[in-house]
């Protein structure tokens, strides 16, 4: 595998961004989509080739996948050995990621051909998709913690642009701003974390950083030795970096931006807010996993608590939402929660197999596929009924059979029903949890039950329930719309059988995992219960949900209002940042700081008017001043110079 090929993977999408951005309108017009797709396709093929060659031929050297840096370019040298490098880091993680990213991105590109047809800013859309894909690929291939921060920001901004794509909707603007600012706030932590860690380690390169912080040495000892507010600098750094990760991956309490981000075009949600960008946080933690794992399990527990809580919390909210995309959004949050806490499952002795790590990446992989499928399916539905609301849907299974089938597959997968993809990955996660931390396991179990419930609630109320008339589309959608669904559907079926533990593991050594049937009974059962419950409530139109909601009362209301987290944040920004800081600052500036300047000016005017009487125009008075002047001067001198006075 040669470097230029790998470079092409991110650069081709960039090319499509530049081409379409500059000449899209004037030159390509409606062909823009095709340009984007073809470039993406090439990039995808190269990615597949690269990944497979890595995994199956070159990568594995004497029982361990090695980490390669085929390309490295110093980008900005700081003084003391700190260098921002633009590089490629080839290891199992990044390989899996480039596959996922290019694959989903390609699907979305194709899907959008029909979904976005006739949009005024069609070319811009594809340009932005290109930009995003480029940044995401750059992110996953980064060899340098600062490089990852750079692409991290780029990803954020392209998500901003895509969320705000329908720019004339005020809601889109609001959502885009919210997404950007919340993640930006999180990135602040990431940045400071980087500064802290890099200053401690004296390097920005991932591998060196990891080795410096995992092998005992003065770097590590100083990082652990110097403490601030009772925590070691290292845990501060990791916590701050995790803050960034949590922001991107919508961990509680920074999750608020993700549901609103659904304002963007649905394919975009599929790409960015389901499959790729939102898992960047997981990726980051996985990237630094050795350090997290090593840094004395202290901080890792925090990670898995957050993850598990987020998973449960989001699942509860998902059960109450009626906007199908929001349901999917919350389910995404919950699933990422799974991945996150899976990463937290560090075995007591670091030598042992880190099942959680593998499981988390595995789940990332499968989830990307079926969640993309769900979103695209939802997109198809929305495309069909022109609404996001469940109440406008129902009984679509006859009208759009393909979509229905694929959607069902995806639901089964996410519900963890064997033999679909979700089953395997979630299995491993639960297993890892079971081995390390039973409480987490139980939370996870409940969550997966809820997952099954709300997914099938969604499924039934879209495709079954009472017939909803008033849409007279004949065709379900053209080939571009359906092909991606089908492909992803196939993916959903087969993805589970990938021998993932052979590919990805914390120490990059392949290991064996076997299915523990007796263990997997419980999750599957919980899943089935959830499904049955959902079908009983939503398969036919009935009053059960309302009654249930009424009985649950306050809790239901709270859940439906997302437990008022948004309101809390809003209160914080409006109340504190604006009214308590910004307003006073502006006032002080105008009235006090500037006031002093004004005061000097007006003071001079005042004086000059007060003393004008001296110039009275009376020549005798002038003379009087003259004489008094002399007398005063002389007598001053007398008192100054003559001691005996």
């Amino acid at each position: 595998m040669n470097t230029t090929n790998i470079l092409l993977i991110p650069l081709l999408p960039l090319l499509s961004f530049v081409l379409l951005g500059l000449f899209g309108k004037s030159f390509f017009k409606t062909k823009a989509g095709l340009v984007g797709c073809s470039l993406m396709l090439v990039s995808f093929i190269i990615a597949v080739v690269t990944a497979s060659s890595y995994f199956f031929s070159t990568g594995l050297q004497n029982g361990q996948y090695q980490q390669l840096k085929p390309f490295l370019m110093p980008w900005l040298k700081f003084a003391n050995g700190l260098v921002i490098e633009m590089g490629l880091l080839i290891d199992p993680l990044s390989m899996i990621m480039i596959f996922v990213v290019t694959f989903i991105s390609l699907m979305v590109h194709i899907f959008s051909l029909s979904y976005m047809k006739g949009e005024e800013r069609f070319h811009v859309y594809y340009a932005f998709l290109g930009l995003f894909t480029f940044s995401m690929l750059g992110l996953v291939l980064s060899s340098n913690i600062f490089q990852i921060y750079i692409f991290w920001e780029l990803v954020g901004v392209s998500s901003f642009l895509l969320i705000g794509f329908f720019y004339q909707k005020s809601s889109a603007l609001a959502a885009a701003k919210k997404a950007f600012i919340v993640t930006r706030f999180a990135d602040l932590g990431f940045l400071i974390g980087i500064l802290l860690l890099s200053a401690q380690a004296g390097t920005l390169d991932f591998l060196e950083l990891i080795s410096k912080f995992t092998t005992p040495g003065d770097t590590l000892s100083s990082a652990l030795g110097t403490t601030f507010l009772g925590f070691s600098l290292l845990s501060w750094g990791l916590a701050l970096v995790f803050m960034g990760a949590a922001g991107k991956s919508a961990m509680f309490p920074l999750h608020i931006w993700l549901p609103d981000a659904m304002e963007g075009p649905t394919p975009v949600s599929a790409l960015i807010h389901a499959a790729t960008m939102v898992v960047a946080g997981v990726f980051l933690v996985a990237r630094l996993y050795p350090v997290y794992a090593f840094s004395g399990a202290g901080f890792v527990h925090f990670i898995d608590d957050i993850g598990a809580f987020t998973a449960l919390f989001a699942a509860v909210i998902a059960c109450t939402q009626t906007d199908i995309k929001r349901v999917l959004a919350y389910s995404t949050i919950s699933q990422i929660g799974f991945m996150m806490f899976a990463l937290g499952q560090v075995p007591a002795d670091l030598g042992a197999v880190h099942l959680g790590y593998t499981a988390s990446i595995f789940h990332l992989f499968t989830h990307a596929i079926f969640k993309a499928l769900l979103f695209l399916g939802a997109g198809a539905v929305i495309h069909y009924v022109h609404s996001n609301e469940m109440k406008d849907m129902g009984g679509l299974r006859k009208k759009m059979p393909v979509t229905h089938a694929m959607f069902l597959l995806a639901c089964l997968a996410i519900a963890g029903v064997p033999p679909f993809a979700g089953f395997f990955s979630k299995e491993e996660i639960l297993l890892a949890a079971w081995e390390n931390n039973p409480t987490i396991f139980w939370m996870a179990l409940i969550t997966s039950g809820l997952t099954a419930f709300y997914m099938f609630r969604l499924y039934f109320s879209i495709f079954w329930n009472k017939e909803h008339d008033g849409h007279h589309h004949e065709k379900e959608g053209d080939i571009f719309l359906l092909a991606p669904l089908v492909i992803l559907g196939i993916g959903t079926v087969v993805a589970g059988f990938v021998p993932f533990s052979h590919l990805v593991s914390s120490d990059r050594k392949p290991f064996e995992t076997e299915l523990h049937l007796q263990f997997s009974i419980a999750p599957v059962a919980v899943g089935l219960i959830g499904i049955l419950l959902a079908s009983w409530m939503y398969r036919k139109h009935s009053a059960i949900p309302e009654n249930l909601a009424r009985n649950m009362g306050g809790f239901y209301k709270a859940a439906k209002n997302k437990f008022y987290i948004d309101e809390v944040w809003l209160g914080f920004t409006k109340g504190v940042l604006f009214n308590l800081i910004a307003k006073p600052a502006a006032w002080v500036d105008r009235n006090i700081v500037d006031g002093m300047v004004k005061a000097t000016g007006s003071g001079m005017e005042w004086i000059s008017y007060r003393i004008k009487g001296l110039q009275s125009g009376k020549v005798q008075q002038y003379g009087l001043f003259f004489l008094f002047g002399i007398i005063i001067i002389v007598s001053v001198y007398l008192f100054k110079n003559v001691p005996w006075r």
């Binding site: 780029l154 705000g164 004339q168 701003k177 200053a199 604006f578 600052a585 300047v597």
Partner: protein, 493 residues
């Protein structure tokens, strides 16, 4: 490379403009500006050429002429990497300014004359190696601004013009006193204003400790140092477009450059003595400016206040006294110069079409003026520090450099500075988003996009921003040797 050219060209251009009639003034101005760009780039090439053939002498292309020898002046000019960067910046901003004001109606001739005069002052300032020559050019660059605002300005222009001129002149008065103090406190045989000579001798600390703060504050006024920044919002908002571009783009950099070259470099011990205060003031400026910006309703005010915040980074970088931080400060000067000039240019274009600068009165303009708004986005992203654009490079360099200081105080200041990038994101997105997105508020929904001159102005500046943002190593290689000289002096080597 003869540096006299750099000073002479704008001067001759100005005279030519005065000589020509109303119609051809702008052509002459443009020609002059293009020449300046060519020369600036030529200078850059020559400079790198010299360096590549291994000329490590810090100052290149020196020239020295007798000038008031009786008083220890001498017309001594020369450049190092920092000045070259600044000269490039000036050339870019000047040509952009000329292009933007291409369709100036009122008193064209004088307008372009004063614009070129400003350029003249700036170039002279950046090449001068004698403190008094520096001072001379510094003051040359002040008064045209006054006339700019008071003649071509808008709004409460007389007040703003006075405030700007008086505060800046107040700053230079402090500098003047400090310079004289420095001169006469030295033993007669050592008295000189020549920076090269001064850098070689070591000035007693007792002198440094009162000269440094005066000089630094004096130049700080130009860079909107915290309590002395209030001329910025009024001045920028009342000035005509090209005026604000020059004000924010270059003349605030005069201050930063002076703080670096005249204060920190020549009085290192003083710098060490006062760095704490500088850092505190800079952090205040950064965060407080950012928050004050959040409350602004007028695009120009927004950009003006954000300039206060951004120039805070310059002072912070200088105050941190580490090589990286100072390099970052220089980066920030260049980057802020480019992006704020771009921002003001865009504001001018938008204003020309919508006849308002109030954010609340605009909306959805992306539909009617895609190019302009796209550029606005680029400017906005640059100023909120998006990677790939200049702002990011500069800010990150400052942060990393500041973090190099181990003490809690320095790191707290750095964290505060970092926090400002969030606030920046908030106000930039609020403004830009409101202007560009949402329901359209415009007289017609016909396209009314940039004209050729505006496009070129924007493109030139964007090119600068992108080059710096994508390939910072060029600028880094240019600047860091110059900075190293300064940091060596700071380290007492």
């Amino acid at each position: 490379m003869n540096l006299i050219l750099i000073i002479l060209i704008p001067l001759l251009t100005g005279l030519a403009i005065l000589g020509l009639n109303e119609k051809h003034a702008r052509t002459a101005a443009l020609a002059g500006a293009i020449m300046q760009v060519v020369i600036a780039i030529g200078l850059y090439l020559a400079f790198t050429q010299e360096r590549s053939i291994g000329n490590v002498f810090p100052i290149l292309f020196e020239q020295q002429y007798q000038w008031f020898p009786a008083l220890g002046f001498s017309f001594h000019i020369g450049v190092d990497g920092i000045s070259v960067a600044m000269i490039l910046l000036t050339a870019f901003v000047v040509i952009a300014g000329v292009l933007v004001s291409w369709n100036m109606e009122k008193m064209k001739k004088e307008f372009f004359f004063f614009l070129t005069l400003l350029g003249f002052g700036a170039y002279g300032f950046f090449v001068s190696l004698d403190l008094m020559v520096m001072f001379f050019f510094l003051e040359i660059a002040v008064i045209p601004k006054y006339l700019f605002i008071s003649i071509w300005g808008s709004g409460n222009k007389d007040y703003s013009a006075n405030k700007l001129a008086l505060m800046l002149m107040g700053g230079s008065a402090l500098i003047l006193v400090a310079l004289m103090g420095m001169y006469f406190s030295m033993p007669p045989e050592l008295r000189t204003f020549d920076m090269v000579k001064l850098a070689e001798m070591n000035i007693p600390f007792s002198l440094q400790r009162w000269v440094f703060p005066l000089i630094f504050t004096g130049f700080g006024v130009f860079t909107a140092m915290f309590p002395f920044h209030t001329w910025v919002p009024d001045g920028h908002s009342s000035a005509p477009t090209a005026g604000s571009m020059f004000l924010a783009g270059i003349s605030m950099k005069l201050g930063g450059y002076g703080c670096l070259r005249a204060a920190t470099y020549l009085f290192p011990e003083g710098a060490h003595e006062y760095s704490g205060i500088i850092i505190v003031l800079a952090s205040i400026a950064i965060i407080y400016g950012a928050f004050a910006t959040m409350m602004q309703k007028d695009l120009k005010y927004i950009n003006a206040y954000s300039s206060v915040s951004h120039c805070g980074f310059v002072l912070l970088g200088i105050g941190m006294l580490t090589k990286t931080a100072i390099t970052g400060a220089v980066f920030q000067m260049v980057s802020h110069g480019l992006m704020t000039a771009l921002f003001f240019a865009i504001i001018g274009m938008v204003y020309e079409r919508t006849h308002t600068r109030m954010v609340a009165d605009m909306g959805g303009l992306l539909k009617v003026m895609p190019f302009i708004i796209t550029t606005l986005y680029i400017a906005g992203f640059a100023s909120l520090g998006l990677p790939g654009l200049s702002g990011f490079v500069a800010e990150m360099t400052v942060f990393v450099g500041s973090w190099e200081n181990q003490t809690f105080f320095h790191r707290a200041a750095t964290v505060i500075a970092c926090a400002s990038i969030v606030v920046t994101a908030v106000y930039i997105l609020r403004a830009v988003g409101q202007v560009s997105m949402g329901p359209l508020k415009y007289s017609s929904d016909q396209k009314d996009d940039a004209r050729w001159n505006e496009k070129w102005a924007a493109v030139i500046l964007i090119a600068g921003i992108l080059i710096m943002g994508l390939a910072p190593f060029w600028l880094n290689d240019l600047v860091s040797p110059g900075v190293e000289v300064i940091t060596n002096k700071l380290a007492g080597k």
